[in-house]
Every structure is written in C-alpha cells, then in structure tokens.
C-alpha cells in the first residue's frame, strides 16, 4: 500500500473556526494507508510548503492529500511543491474543506464530520493515483489559412512575418475578397483597392506564403499541431507556370458572361481574371460559359497564346500538406434581393443591393465611379437607401444586426452626394449604430454637411411606376406615412456566412450557430478560437464586422497561431481515458460517445484505439464502456467506488 501523508490547513481561522482540526487529525491518523497527518496554519505559505517538502522526504511519502481550499486555487501550487522534491505532481490531491465545508456550515460537529469524510474520500483517490506525465506532441509550424479576403490576407501576412510558413487557400482565382469590390471605406473615405492591393502583392511575394487560389479544402484529418490536409486545385485550363498574364486571350475571347466581381453590372469574358489588379494576375477559363467546352469549337484563346499556356485537358489536382494550425476566414455573402418580395423580388432593375452600389461608386467599376442607375444609365436625382433589409427580422429573415450597414449606407449617401451635387439621398433607418472610432462624427457629417435626410422607419413596399421607383414607408418620428418617388433604391441587405461554409465546418468539425456563423470557443474570453483546438476564426465568417474589426481580429488570430507555433511541443493534460487491450472487445460504444473523435475502432485488431492528444479527459467513455476497459486515469471505477464508500463510512 502507498504511504500517504495528509496535510490539514487551518487557513487562519477560515477552516479552523468551524472544523475541529485536532479531531480531524486524530481521525485520519488511523485511516488505512495514511502514515502521517500534519496540520499547519497556512499550508500555502512558504513555511507550509516547506513542511510538505520535508515530510515527503523524511516519511518517504508516495502520495499526499492537502486538505485546504478549493483545488482551483492551490492545486497547482502544491503540485509544483511536490515536483521540486521529486514527487510526481499527479500524486498530490486536494481535499476541499473550505469552500465546500468550513465556509458553508455553521455547526462545528457537522462541519468536522463532513471534513473527515471529504478527506477520507480524497485519501482513497490518492491511494490509487498513478504517476502521470503530460502527453507531449510535436507541433508542425505551418498554418493553413482558408479564405483570401482581408481577414485571410492579414492573418497570413502576420503569421508569415512571425517567421512561420503559411498556405493561403482561396476559392476564387484571385485573392482580395469582398474588400476588393468596395469603393471607398468609412470613416476615412480612402480607396479600398488602394489600401488593399499592396497587401495582396505582399502575400504573393512573401517567401513564407504559398498562395493557392482557385482551390478548396477537400479533406482533413489529425489534430492540433498535426493536421493532414488535402487541397483541391480546380481545373483552370490555363497553365499558370507558362502564362505571363499578358491578357491577349482575354481580349480575343468572343464569349461573355456577367461579371461576378461587378455584381453582374458588367460583362467579363469566358477566359478572365476577376478584376484588373487580381493577384495572381492570371486568367482561368470558366467551364460553364466557354464556347469550346459547350460546342467543341473556338479555341481562340489557345490559338492566340504565344506561350502555349491554354490547356483544355487540364483536370483538377490534389495537394496534400501537413499543417499545425488552421485559420478559417471564409467571409460573407450578401443576402440576395431576390428574397425581398416587398421590394420587388429583384425584378426591379433600379432596386439594388449595397455591394452593387459599391461597384457603381467605384472608380474601377462599370461606370467609372459615376453614379448612373442600372436600368437606363441616367443619373439618379433622388436615391432612397433602406437599412436593415433582412437583418433584425427574426420573423422573415435573420434575427441579427449585420453591423456594417449603418456605416456603409451613410457612406453611400455621402459619396452619392459628393458625385451628384443636386441629388437628394434619403436613408430609412430603424436605429443608427455608429459605435466605432470616428463613426459618430462621420454620421453627423452626413447629416450636417451632406444634407442626407434620415427617415426613422421602415419601408413597406417598393414598386415601379413609369420610370420611377415608388417607396412607401413611414417616418415614425413624424408619425406619418411617407412616399418617395425615387430614381433608384439601394437596399442594405443582410450579410450571411458565405456559401459552402456549412460543409466546410462539417469537414473541420467546428460548430456554427443558428445563423450559420462560426462559433467561437468563448464569446468573450476566447473570441478567435474555435472549440476544436488548433482551428481559429477570423473575419465575417464568425460574425458580421467591418474592416478595422476584421483586421484586428485577424491579427489576434495570427498571434494565437504564433503563440501555438512558439512551442516545440504541446503539453496535454494526461487525465485521459485509455484502453485496456486485455478487456476491450471493440464494441465501439465509447467511439460514439466521444465528443472529440479521440477514439477509433481498429477493426482489424478488434479493439478501440485512443488518440491521447485529442482526448480531453471528460470520462464519458469510461461511464459508457460496458466492459471496464475504458478507465479514466486517476478517476478509475475502483477509485470512484472507494471514494463513495469512504464518504458513507462512519
């Protein structure tokens, strides 16, 4: 039997006032396995710890129980004490006789008895505790960033600048994401592309970053520090190694299709780069629209390419990589106007969403930055902006606030006014949420200097009447309905997680909330981590946010990744549940129960195997295992059973 020492702390009078220490000491002295009982006024103090150290040595103890305060306070303290004299830290147990005994009971006899029972049960645990060492896992110091918008770009650059390798995967052929589509950004009104494109170039040129555009994550296995990922590179039909990006193929291509980048306002070719500043600036052939793929005829691009880069036979390829951390920065989509029946279901040409208006305002856009309405290209003299379209509407669309609309709509109205001086912008709003540095001032400027009329209320209906778009709404401040015969309407549509993110989260085994946004490990204290270790979040995939917030979060994410990579090994709590191979019959019950996929059935051997790194030590499998083969370390069935008996002993 082990030689257990029990150290009872008075905690000044915190324990001693209601627990009769002398009686407790006497009681424990006779307890089987206990070779020493020692009490002291403040066990956690230096002299107290020294007593423990001395006694461990002098009494040749191989396990100790400290009866004191809650283990959340000093378990680590006492375990470190043990470690300094060569005792395994896991041989030290804490009996909580303060928070759960002396402080909550008034009657001294009752409290003393309860303290005895608590200590006895912990002695029983200590008697069967194993010596444990933390599980060590090497870390692969390479990160995978999913998504090449501003969030992904910032995260990738930041991780790479810390000296670690990064693979940046983007499903479009160019990085840049939504930010590349924007005109000017609030509240400073600097040009979005002007501040973004240098960063895009940095990514392309960074020696630590491997850029994989037109690619998607196909498969993943492994765990924090040791993920194995498979990336699918879609068929581009253009050999980018040969292509110089001269653009001749694009020029000659006879087939056009609506440009996604320009929100369908403009056409692009079937062989195309999404926008002139694309990175990498090399084209892909759009299989859906290419005449050759449809009819077998054409091949003009191939003919004009002097580098023989066009390859119609190209197929998708797969790349396998090992990474230590993953950043999910998959961004957002705009909720389609199609869903807004009361606003014309997308059938009215001059009722558009905010992102489309960004293209109209953008100097690189289809109108060169001149505000012209889509239907007939005339300059709209009155524009109505409607906020909270699809947002804050739990009854029909989404319950959440899309957060960016208040500011960008104000910016839209302002930019419109700057371009069309005699034009009148109106904004229908429910609340103005202008929290952020310089945001309120920006909003005030729109009211004072740019004469934007803010109407507090919702719009119930928008319809076409001749060449006008009639907007029927209310100004709840005025208290009456209002009708505006506008030339154009811009809807601040809700934003939602981008398409395909749900499949991705299933692959990554990370959670999403009821609206499809990625769930963070803790809403306040762990806002950039997912619940799966080693997978981090950045940008609008997690929740709607504007550019400053996105960049801040991406930087935080990168610092978490660097933090992880700064360690050679990951240390993992060894209180895991193993498998006794002599007892395990491979029934697989534990596999179903494990929330971390740490347990896998090896069908060949007929037993279950445990990945010690994935196991978080909840012990649910131990309770589920019908053959006693799954025993949680230092929480075995025998230990718990003995603890119960000790509590019930007189």
């Amino acid at each position: 039997m082990k030689r257990i020492g029990v150290f009872v702390c008075h905690c000044g009078i915190n324990i001693a006032a209601t627990v009769d220490i002398e009686s407790v000491v006497k009681d424990l002295e006779d307890y089987p396995g206990v070779v020493l009982v020692q009490d002291y006024k403040y066990m956690c103090s230096d002299p107290g710890q020294n007593i423990i150290k001395e006694k461990i040595k002098s009494e040749r103890l191989d396990g100790i129980v400290v009866a004191a305060c809650s283990p959340t306070l000093h378990e680590n303290t006492f375990r470190l004490t043990c470690k300094t004299v060569g005792m395994n830290p896991y041989s030290c147990e804490i009996a909580n006789i303060r928070e759960q005994c002396s402080w909550v009971h008034k009657n001294k006899d009752e409290a003393t008895l309860k303290a005895k029972l608590i200590i006895r049960s912990i002695v029983e645990k200590a008697l069967l505790d194993e010596e444990l060492e933390p599980v060590q896992v090497p870390v692969i110091r390479k990160a995978l960033v999913l998504g090449g918008g501003i969030a992904g770009i910032q995260a990738a650059l930041s991780i790479a600048n810390s000296g670690y390798e990064v693979i940046l995967v983007e499903k479009q052929s160019s990085i840049g994401g939504r930010m590349a589509q924007l005109s000017e950004t609030f509240p400073t009104l600097d040009c979005s592309q002007c501040i973004l494109t240098p960063k895009m170039v940095d990514v392309a040129q960074h020696e630590k970053i491997r850029l994989m555009t037109y690619s998607e994550l196909e498969d993943i296995s492994g765990f924090v520090g040791n993920f194995k990922v498979k990336i699918r590179q879609k068929a581009k039909y253009v050999d980018w190694d040969k292509c110089t990006g001269c653009g001749l193929c694009i020029e000659k291509c006879p087939k056009k299709a609506p440009s996604e980048f320009d929100q369908g306002l403009e056409k692009r070719k079937a062989v195309f780069t999404p926008f002139p500043q694309a990175v990498p600036n090399k084209p892909v052939i759009d299989h859906e629209n290419c005449t050759y793929f449809k009819t077998g005829k054409c091949q003009l691009c191939k003919i004009v390419c002097s580098f023989d880069a066009v390859d119609f036979d190209e197929t998708e390829t797969f790349v396998e990589e090992e990474v230590g951390a993953i950043v999910v920065a998959t961004g957002y989509d705009v909720y389609p106007v199609l869903n807004m029946d009361e606003y014309g279901s997308g059938k009215l040409p001059d009722v558009i969403d905010g992102l489309t208006f960004e293209r109209i305002l953008s100097s690189s856009g289809p109108t060169g930055g001149e505000v012209r309405r889509p239907s007939d290209g005339t300059v709209p003299k009155e524009i109505v902006f409607i906020k909270c379209v699809g947002s804050r509407d739990p009854e029909h669309h989404f319950p959440y606030c899309s957060k960016i609309c208040c500011m960008y709509t104000t910016k839209h109205a302002m930019l419109y006014k700057h371009r069309v001086h005699d034009g009148q912008p109106y904004i229908f709003y429910m609340d103005v949420r202008a929290g952020g540095k310089g945001y309120e001032e920006f909003y005030q400027r729109a009211q004072e200097e740019d004469n934007v009329i803010f109407l507090r209320g919702k719009v119930s209906k928008v319809y076409q009447d001749d060449d006008k778009v009639v907007v029927c709404g209310i100004d709840t401040i005025y208290g009456r309905n209002v009708e505006i015969r506008a030339d154009m309407v811009v809807l601040a549509m809700a934003i939602r997680p981008s398409k395909g993110v749900e499949e991705l989260t299933r692959l990554l085994k990370i959670a999403i909330d009821q609206n499809g946004f990625l769930t963070e490990a803790h809403p306040k204290l762990r806002p950039v981590e997912s619940l799966s270790a080693g997978i981090y979040l950045a940008g609008c995939a997690q929740a709607p946010k504007d550019i400053p917030d996105t960049v801040a979060q991406a930087s935080a994410t990168a610092s978490m990744v660097s933090n992880l990579f700064s360690q050679e090994y990951l240390l993992h709590d060894p209180l895991i549940t193993g498998v006794n191979e002599d007892l395990c019959s491979g029934c697989g019950v534990c596999v179903s129960v494990c929330p971390y996929d740490a347990r896998k059935l090896n069908k060949e051997e007929g037993i279950v195997e445990v990945n010690e790194v994935l196991c978080e030590g909840c012990g649910s499998c131990s309770a589920a295992c019908p053959s006693g083969a799954a025993q949680q370390k230092n929480f075995t069935d025998t230990q718990l059973s003995n603890m119960v008996k000790a509590i019930l002993s007189e």
């Binding site: 402080w103 929330p595 309770a623 718990l640 008996k645």
Partner: protein
C-alpha cells in the same frame, strides 16, 4: 428526524465551481451532502450510483453544466439520458426515483447550489431511510 447521508458527484467546470462560489459568498446549506469532484457529469457511471445506495446513501445527486454549456460539448446530454433511464430502472428496483437527482448548476449559480442542496436534503428526509435488505 433522521440525518440522511447523501453522495454527490459535481462536475469540475460548473457545479463544483458553483459550490465554491457558494462558499466564497459565505452562503450556508445543510451538511448532509458530500461531493466528489469529477471532470464531467458524464463520468458518473450508473454503477457508482447503485454502489452508493448499496453502501448506505439515502440519496445521490449529480450536478452538471446546463444543456449547451458542457465544457466537453455534449457530456451532459449523455448524463441526462443515462440518469433518465436509470431512474426508470430504480423504480423497478424499489428505490424511489426521487432519491436520485440530476441538476444543472452553473459556476455562477452559487445561490442555486445552496437551494438545491437544501431542497434535496429535505426531500430525502421526507422520503425517509432507505432500507436495503439483501436477504
């Protein structure tokens, strides 16, 4: 009135932390319940509960995190199912199912912790001694 013996299992992250909060807030409750701290309520095996009854416990209490808040994602759902089924079986074994209680108590619910302790102790007192005769 007799003084019942009650064994409890508290999960480390929520209920045990709630118990600590009750302590640091100097709340008081009845001393009949002695707790065992486990990592998760789902570690508690029905075997441990029967073992407690066999060895003289008049009641068994299990405290876990609220649904959706489990530190281990889904442990408490497993506990809930096991305990629900076990209660049904306890009835067949002649043990009042109210002698076994599952409560969700968060780390912030110190007050509730004390209420549950007192309520359960009173309930067990009302149910009386559990007379297990194995012959």
């Amino acid at each position: 009135m007799f003084d019942p013996k009650i064994v409890a299992f508290f999960c480390k992250w929520c209920t045990s932390a709630g118990a600590d909060l009750a302590g640091t807030s100097r709340m008081t409750y009845k001393p009949n319940i002695v707790g065992i701290r486990v990592m998760c309520s789902s570690r508690v095996d029905p075997e441990h509960i029967l073992n407690a009854f066999k060895n003289g416990a008049e009641g068994v209490l299990i405290g876990g995190c609220h649904p959706g808040d489990c530190h281990y994602q889904s442990g408490n759902y497993k506990t809930l199912k096991r305990i629900t089924l076990l209660k049904k079986m306890l009835n067949d074994l002649g043990i009042d199912k109210n002698r076994l209680r599952l409560e969700w108590i968060s780390a912030a619910e110190g007050k509730r912790f004390t209420q549950v302790m007192d309520e359960f102790t009173d309930e067990i007192k009302k149910l009386g001694k559990l007379k297990i005769n194995q012959l």
